[in-house]
Symmetry: D2
């Protein structure tokens, strides 16, 4: 189990139950616009079929909570543990990740029945036995909620990728409700952050993942951060200046990959009638120059920064700045907005403030995803939750338009390999 | 367009329409037991998603008949030609074959609407304008029916493969209706065929594919053929004698492949509770020793024959024997039986007759699939129907339990690469 | 051991010894122009390092003759059996074929010492004990000589490939001795061959490989054959007519391969200063229009024939024609000429004769390499010599400019996969 | 050009010339025990053929110094720039890295002539024109010497890998001169390092690479470091405790790789007669329990540390400790010793001192190889020297038994991917 340094929030049974139902309902709501066919395919290795997400999150509840704490609990199906384990070596063999998209069975209807079965059992448990359950149960309950929220973000991004592979460019949601594109973005400004010894990592009350611990001090030199995310218009200038054809801006491995795969723009950008469009949850849409650029790899973010004469912030700089500027999720774009795209900063936004730190886009940092000082991998299966990924990836910060708003913190550490583009990733410049 | 040496059968509009509707209905009937999820996946390259089969056969009618002969015909959707072309280079670019299983859209419902749209248009055309249509139209109509029947066989075998990938071993049809396994097969007997100059290739009336032409004479030396297919019990003796572990019986490429993939038995065989079972259209079933062995590659068929001190017949031998013994489809097992498995020869079958030549299993021959003397590739897109495959594959003869009964002839030439196992392929010995 | 239907030629010890030494010396002479560095690399899987060829042929003598028949023979090195076994499963594990080019040790000098050691032992055996040796020994001796001649052809073609990979285009032999290119080739003429029942396969005295047996009758329909090989000038017309860009001429698998690998001309052709050149054993040379085209795959040969309105002969047609026209090796180009390239037919050649059937280029046939009727794989390791390759390849006939002249027969069957181009392969048209 | 913050050492022409000749001679001396065959192969992608190293280092002098500063310099060969460029995109196309081992030409003799040609020209230049040459020339001269020393280390490790692929286990140097294995290693002790703000990065006089700049302050928490490298005996305990079979100690990607490749011990370890041996520059030798373990990947180093209840130091900790303990190269094992293996710490070594920090083994740190604050990539081709590799790799510190002694510094940053094992990499524990 991840390290929790404080008791979970609000350990009152009714409140837990309400949170549980709200989170579970949100996962299914995300799949409501899909057809059964959409829920089964896996067009690339990083993407999982939506019905797999719906089942895997359910398997988590069944495996870590119901089997342990619900007396007499009956497994919904004996083979589901094999089918829906993601990566836990402790829990035995599992379906090869590359084969998730070939399994038409169990169908979506059975997965929904599985969800109902588990929801019933957990509701009953919370209703009838909350008083008898130990603190460890509630820590797992909290973790299960956080885990399911993480899969909600993956659902949103995987669904986008799945629909994008069809030449029909289907809409997940009707485009009719979209606002008109902004004409101009607010101009970018550089904001100074003073140097010093800062404390980073989780240091508040409530829940955090084990990878945010231990909080510790870091020495940060003075630096400046841009007050908003890089926009599509700015990124387009990089494209048009030949940024994708000049190796000098690129990490070597990034350049080789970009050449091999023929990258010429962010993921989902296509030329149509001589104009750049983007595939979105609302079908194919013209690129909005004022909106933050997204679906860029670390390689592209880093190359852009080099071209722009700047750099990406480190993880410590980012968190220091977020704390310094008092970042809050209040004005960010989150999963709950159903926008599924980062939004332009209003032209009248205060240039002295630092915007979009939380929400809209995950911001690539130039920090490897390594363990914090004092980090200890937990015993048992949950020890595989974070620790075994702590090499070869980069940290991203701040959450995105596909993150549930209640899921984020300034100390939250997300991580992806440098080549990944299917998440809502964006660019914040430092210098 | 393939070479037709006679007029198509029964060029009367009402009869054509009835045949058209019967064939089209059969394709959809095969998919009726499926869920939408089953119709979208492609667990290996040789397999196509069922909804792709349903759409591709429809595209064939639209492209080759309606666009050419139906005045004012409106395409159902402008992108479907790209989506559902299989391999015709003449007709422009197409979806990469490996990506067929990632396209959740268009969904099954749209494909069924596509079928209805095309069926309406073709029915109207046949109803209202049959008299005006040229002979070339009816030749294409005949070809379209044959083409759709070919895809029915693929539907049956691809569906089996798709369902087999799930650890749940789902049933396509309920197993409750299956007969009890036979206890003993009729003993095998060798039947002599006299040598001489024989005429092979299509030489009857009615339809044939261009690859069955030109009929020509071959010199066949005297040989003997076994009077039935090799059974599971016989093949099991080969397995138990170490046939999969002794390279001396194997072609070199077959041996390397079998080692690399860990073959120990035909496709779909699994050990369960110490006994061999087979995945079937009726779920997992014990191996019936009396039934013909099926789902073997050429490599396995050839290794078995070597082990048994015999050999596979050549294509010319097979056809000569089939004509010599007066093979008819009457007692074979066909798609229409819904058995989806080759059936045991009754214990009291006449040992002096040659059984199971037509139906039950495609029989591997030791003949490469090459053009017959005088073969000429047709002009235009239909010239790609057969000719471009005439190297690196082997001929199979006789049809299988997944072939529509009306689709077969003694001159019919099927062909697959030596490693393929997902069709209903079997073994007939010669010496 | 291969089936020999007659006693080997000239079973007199002195003559055997002379032949042995002549063949062994020829292998080393082929490597004389090489540097040690050239003898170790393997730039593609089909190519073996020259020092591997020199060692493997020696291993054959040691394994099949000396270990069996030379009393008290001492192995040169205990690890060489593992290092230099090519593909005999009967003889235990061996170096992975793809790794042959990474083994710098043993070096060339040690391989030459190995050759001397084995030559000494075999000379002594033949000198001192010829009278005691059984007929089986002399059959193996004959096979060893034929085997080493086969590797001489591979040495010549592998050396060419190895040198070709260097941008320096090094000469194997000085180009100064080359004759001036011919200006015109003799015009091609079609020669008729009457139909009938012919006997094919080995039916003479002396040695043959087991794959040439049993001789048997075939029914051949009347056909015409071109009286010479297709020339570079003729093939260039195909290139310039867009033959490499029009799928209609191509087998499907050939087309896909040609696209994937960017084929635009035969192997070794490069544009330089706006003119086609070919890499040869004499460095880079302008294409000689009058010389036979070579280094084409079956796919290219077949596509060319389709474009030219003709076809490739079958194996039976080729051998029937060779016997009909009384083909002899007398005027062909062979390894012994050190030309290492097929030569133009003199402009005054008799158009009523059929030229170049033996020597110059291996001629692709449109016949799969399958066992002849009555073929039986030998017992023991030599049963792997030919039989296990009898599927998925095509027969080539007639020998080439890299074949030792004494190695060829009209019944000789060579075989390669349809995509291979590094041998001296050429095109003969039939219709 | 890399950032140099001070003038190069000893800018006196005679001294430069002596250093130049000494470094150049050392490269060739390393190849003296090789045969020409050894200098051409590339058994894996990370390894380059020795003659490529000899040529590439020469190309560096020709390209960056002679072409720029030697009036009238004649290129040795016009194609060598293409052949021997390693990874500089600025300098045009180059041989694909995977193809280096297929080029037998130019042979070793030509490469040595190339070296002599360049050495002559550079000697003449230094002899005759040293006074006229600008400071930039001497900075490049220094860089060229450092660059060639880096390739000396690669030569030593690549030669080992090349010879290891032969089942003959050839000796690079005779084993007769090896000392007897030590019986016991000095016991390990933990040494404390106080926390504080430390300055890391190059801060001395003389040469450094641009990746060691800018020197900057870091905050280091108090920690302990082991006073010597982990030994073979200690690592063997990890193996015998099942360390390679228990995923809990491993990073996920490391575990998957170790399973896929069947790792059971460090690279070069083999069981022989029931005992662990190691392939070394002196052939196959029994594992010396007292010697430092080497040829381990980061994954193995990290798994070992987890198993041992410790961790790897960060880069900042390592450098801080090295400065704190006054590490000097005096007692380390270096290339010049011709030992080519890390040596045991004498049993009577002072346990209060920190040993083996410099020399013997590169020590894996748990720090990603990223740019230091203020790092700026240089303009031009030399800007590709370090900067483009600054992601996805890990820092190693301290030099090894294959590093020239004059090449090392406490601020020296080496870097490899986490899976690499062919360098002399070792393990130092922290906690």
């Amino acid at each position: 189990m991840p390290q929790l340094d404080v008791a979970p929030v609000a350990p009152v049974a009714t409140s837990w139950l309400a949170r549980y139902h709200a989170v579970r309902a949100q996962s299914q709501a995300l799949c409501a616009p899909l057809l059964p066919e959409d829920t089964v395919v896996q067009p690339m290795l990083d993407v999982s079929p939506p019905k797999w997400h719906l089942a895997h999150t359910t398997w988590f509840w069944e495996t870590f909570l119901l089997k342990e704490y619900a007396p007499g609990y009956q497994l919904f199906h004996p083979d589901y543990a094999f089918l829906f384990n993601s990566y836990y070596n402790s829990l035995g063999s599992r379906v090869n990740r590359a084969d998730r998209g070939t399994l038409s069975r169990p169908p979506l209807a059975d997965v929904l029945a599985y969800r109902a079965h588990v929801d019933d059992a957990l509701s009953t448990l919370l209703d009838e036995r909350a008083d008898e359950l130990p603190a460890a149960f509630f820590e797992l309950l909290e973790l299960g909620l956080q885990h399911e929220q993480q899969h909600q973000e993956l659902l949103a991004t995987d669904i986008k990728y799945i629909l994008s592979t069809s030449p029909l460019a289907p809409e997940y949601l009707p485009a009719t409700q979209l606002p008109a594109p902004a004409v101009h973005a607010a101009p970018a400004a550089w904001l100074p952050v003073p140097g010093g010894i800062y404390r980073v990592g989780f240091q508040e009350e409530g829940f955090c993942f084990d990878n945010e611990l231990a909080a510790h001090e870091v020495l940060v030199a003075p630096f400046e951060l841009q007050n908003r995310l890089v926009t599509n218009a700015e990124y387009l200038a990089f494209i048009e200046a030949g940024g994708y054809r000049d190796f000098r801006y690129w990490m070597g491995e990034g350049w080789d990959l970009a050449q091999a795969q023929g990258w010429e723009a962010p993921l989902y950008w296509v030329q149509k009638d001589g104009q750049w469009h983007r595939f979105t949850h609302h079908g194919l849409q013209p690129v909005d120059g004022a909106a933050p650029v997204t679906h860029v790899s670390f390689y592209e973010a880093d190359a852009y920064a080099n071209w722009a004469g700047a750099r990406l912030p480190t993880e410590a700089e980012w968190e220091t700045a977020a704390r310094h500027f008092g970042a809050t999720p209040a004005r960010g774009t989150w999963l709950e907005s159903s926008r599924f795209d980062p939004q332009p900063l209003p032209a009248d936004a205060d240039p002295a403030q630092c915007h979009q730190l939380l929400g809209d886009c995950w911001e690539w940092t130039y920090s490897a995803y390594h363990a914090y000082p004092g980090y200890v991998r937990a015993a048992g299966a949950l020890g595989e939750y974070n620790g075994k990924f702590m090499v070869n990836q980069l940290v991203l910060r701040g959450g995105s338009c596909a993150t549930p708003e209640s899921h984020i913190r300034v100390s939250y550490r997300n991580f992806f390999h440098a080549d990944k583009r299917w998440q809502f990733t964006g660019i914040r410049l430092a210098r």
